[in-house]
Symmetry: D2
Subunit: 350 residues, 4 copies
């Protein structure tokens, strides 16, 4: 009953096996290994983007920060949701890699920014002369920090506003697979066809050890990315072990299968919670995370049984009236089992 985070789940067995297979003899370092050749081709196929530049790094923060840095000058504004991972969970990494920059925070329910909010924010910087931070780029998280998703039409609506101001768009896809599994669209439809210029295509939260692909749809920025990656300490000498993980991820749609399992577990959990008297969803369950509230006594039973998850927001308490609903975040991963979910549901239902 571990719902604290998908980043605590193990590595998929196919991925571990691939590491073993990659461990034969010598391999060229720094991304010049043969497996990376295959990965590059596969990602280009998957995204229907034969020109895309494809790179691997080991953390989501690196993928996001480097992606933003190649498109945003030090005096540029990054338009993101107020709760975006790049704003709240990266200790200023975007600003570090950009060499300045300013994250302009946009509101919107369920961690989805509104087109109006984006328009207003860009207008504000667009009016600017030399005294103000300048326009920069859009960054969307998909699936969002609240377990919702942007569908391709939602993405396009926002990137269209950005492009009307000449601005590129980034997608933080730490949970991109979950968003695709939920939307039922193709990766191309969710990204470049909807106006995305660069994607952090996450693997770590979805069955890999620590690999994220950065897909740059217009390769003009490729060499700058390589320099920034190296300079940031994110170029792996024994790169084949990143390549092998991503290669396994792309084989037989493993990435999508794992995400579907995680999403299905979240759906099962979400539906089960709603059957608990007094329970409600805080955010719609559209990917692999459930944000819901249910009576405090249910939390107490779950906690006593060792279930791991976060009260959300964190300043709530299990002390107090037994029937008051308390909100929580529950994240499922590819390794969440129906048994886990059902056991948890039994506990909170009492």
């Amino acid at each position: 009953m571990f719902f604290a985070s998908d980043n605590s789940s193990p590595v998929a067995p196919e991925v571990l096996a691939a590491l073993g297979h990659a461990n034969e003899g010598y391999a060229m370092p720094y991304g010049n290994d043969a497996i990376m050749e295959r990965v590059r081709a596969r990602i280009r196929d998957l995204f229907e983007a034969p020109e895309a530049a494809v790179y691997l790094v080991a953390t989501g923060t690196a993928a996001n920060s480097l992606s933003l840095a190649i498109f945003t000058p030090p005096w540029g504004s990054v338009y993101c949701h107020r709760n975006a991972h790049i704003e709240e969970d990266e200790c200023g990494a975007p600003e570090f890699f950009i060499g300045g920059g300013k994250l302009v925070l946009i509101d919107g329910e369920h961690a989805r920014m509104t087109p109006e909010g984006l328009e207003t924010a860009i207008d504000f910087t667009a009016r600017a002369g030399v005294h103000n931070m300048q326009k920069g780029m859009l960054s969307l998280t998909n699936a969002t920090e609240n377990g919702t998703i942007y569908r391709p039409a939602d993405v396009a609506r926002l990137t269209t506003i950005a492009k009307a101001h000449g601005l590129p768009s980034h997608m933080d896809g730490a949970r991109f697979a979950n968003a695709i599994a939920s939307a039922g669209c193709t990766p191309a439809e969710m990204t470049w066809k909807a106006g995305i210029d660069v994607l952090s295509f996450g693997g770590t939260k979805n069955g890999l050890m620590g690999v994220e692909a950065v897909v740059i749809f217009d390769p003009a920025k490729a060499w700058e990315f390589e320099l920034r990656r190296k300079r940031g300490g994110h170029l792996f000498s024994k790169h084949r072990y990143l390549s092998a993980q991503m290669d396994a991820y792309l084989t037989d749609d493993l990435w999508l299968r794992l995400a579907r399992q995680a999403n299905a577990a979240a759906q099962r959990l979400s539906e089960g919670i709603l059957r608990v008297p007094g329970a409600r969803l805080v955010h719609p369950t559209e990917a692999n995370a459930v944000f819901a509230a249910w009576p405090r006594e249910g939390h107490r039973r779950a906690e006593a049984a060792g279930a791991a998850y976060y009260l959300w927001p964190g300043n709530q308490s299990l002390e107090g009236d037994a029937t008051t609903p308390i909100a929580a975040r529950l994240v499922c991963s590819w390794s969440t089992t129906d048994a886990d979910v059902d056991h948890f549901l039994d506990l909170i239902a009492g």
Copy 2:
């Protein structure tokens, strides 16, 4: 016959096995995993440094840059050898992480800086008022870029000069294990007992996939390291897989056994080359790399047979007089076999 770099060798089987064992169930992320607890304790034991702060990152460039950044202000000078990895092979990563900084280059044969050179360089910055870059810190690479080592007394001689000016000292130990295997001293003798304040303790070139420990002997800088690591995108969520590699590395002295194998291979290679008529060493063979020159015809035969290594410097040519000695760098790793070495020696001997 692969002598191009130790970073192209595979992962030791013990390490791969450890990754499999670590892949059970859920684990706390971001270095809060149980294996990391053990790693921390083991490194403190190994270095006889019960207070040391211990962190893992995935690349040598990250380990070095973060280590320098916690001790050097943006206006500080880093004193290093002209051929140091931090100067020649990190695309400015130290300057990026330091937020400025200046690498002050010191000469010395066989990639070992001379005490006189260090003294002069520090004096130059120490005289400075506000117009000049200020004093910063010392950085030594051990084993060096030329396959030589600093022994503890050499290290102490240099750190003593640094400390006389109030400066801390860093050791880039990407090949620390090879240096220890060669010097026959303890890790403590080579580091804090010789005046080192922070060590990049390399694993990647010596049998790991991509793990370097940073050992900070005075833990006062620990929290700043954590912030810089996160901000640099170098904090792993699924940290247990870094921990597991390092744990295996520390088990039954694997780190030292692998380094001894590599050093022994280099010694065998070095001695064999010297038996070739017209051959000579460019640098003494003290760790796992051989820098030697031998007649061009021997290079031609090796190349024709598929041997991989670099002419060093790179601007030499295999075209021309057959007997002219041409210099090369040959790097051995834990996986270099006697058969490989002997086959190579047969080829160059003709």
Copy 3:
């Protein structure tokens, strides 16, 4: 009838004369001139702060950015009002000098942040582990961007919150003289006695050519300030000409007299506007700027007569119904005359 900005007014005659007097023979460069010695002593006297470190720079952006940079690490948060000059008018200079940093924006009427807003904002970052931007420092603008002031008790209320979290406080005093003239307190009461650690003491908007003093009440950060100033290109070789301006500013309370003139002009203007039927103040007039709205026809007459000022916000139009009140910002300086004010009032009254 120039009310566009106080930064467009001329230099006070006393200041110009002082430049002439300073222009005799040779003077030691870089702040080692004799006049700077006197300036330092005078500022320490004025602020009753015998230990304070005192430096001169030529722009308010430099004064603010350097002041913030010596107290805020690259991962630190600067708590400021949403409309602060450091947020809206410095093109990211604080982030540039800090080497990162994040400005956390706090609301509050009339450009004064509320204690509640500050408390909430600090709490948010204070909860943080390594994933979040860390606590940094407080920055207040006084007089504010809306022509209001913080009184010493207001300042103390906010710095007390900051200090409860261990945070230092900065005052952007580009219009410090106007705030003092308005509050009727001493400089010490407005600053260190109210918890301020570093002050940008502005002169440029108040009769100097381009000089701002930075007053660091605890001199422990003095040397770092000197290094950052030099490194930022803000150390003047012919420093005596900065010194001379500031020296004249401090002589016979010129700084305060000029500010009183500017404030009095604004008061006269404000009261006059309120006599216009349909007019109202947008913000209270507490220093040298008037934020008011009056019927559009009055604006049209003023514009036709060549009056210079900004509609505020800027997206309003002089086209349309003649009686609709339109808001504007009018800034007075030491050189604003009663005749100017009265002429303007005649125009808008019709």
Copy 4:
């Protein structure tokens, strides 16, 4: 008898008068003043460069750092002489503004880099893959730190090497006027006709209070310069006072007349020193600085009489044998008089 530095001399009377004239009424801030319009036109005329972007800043460090930053990426190398002001006297300002960068130091007698040295240095970085700092730009100081000059043909020889590698070229002209006065060529011949892309055109050391023009011959980088200037805190609100100084400087060739006076004084001084028995020049006297050695007893007499100048290098002593020649740097300015020079010569001749 003040020869310590030209930055300690007073402001030319024409310049002071111009400040008075500029001090009338209101003026648009931030470089939008009418005087700046004239300055821009005059500099374009002077340099025969009708498209050039022209900006004013207040310090040479700002002029240089901003000029380098618009042409050098954070991973770029700046090729400069080992004794360049940007290397030795700016506390890392170039690296701060570039956001990294590395100064690659080139040798050459009399502070003039050799073409061979430049070629070798560029070749070294040009070979580079992603692991190394990349190519960046050339920076020449003219007149040099040793009081010598590059003639247009010398400049062209170096910029031709740079351009063969696709690199732009900067000239640090803190003493540009002295170089022009010495070379007898036009400003255009010394700059863009000889391959220079951006010039720091110094005024501060030659009779201004603190103004340097940056002349960017290809205006494509103009907007980025404006943003970096603002962000660096170097955009003056009361810009007219910078404009007025530069305007006076350009009127009736004041800049050139002042430089000729300084150069003539240095020539008189140099020739006089050579008449002292045992004296010799350390560097040729080509601009306004004299580097010469003469017997220690002459130094003692000069010092006793209050002459101000630096022993160069600084580690020499006036203690010891009376006849041993001791080297010194003597800098003349527009305000150095023949009487000063002759008095000094009398002293050292004994």
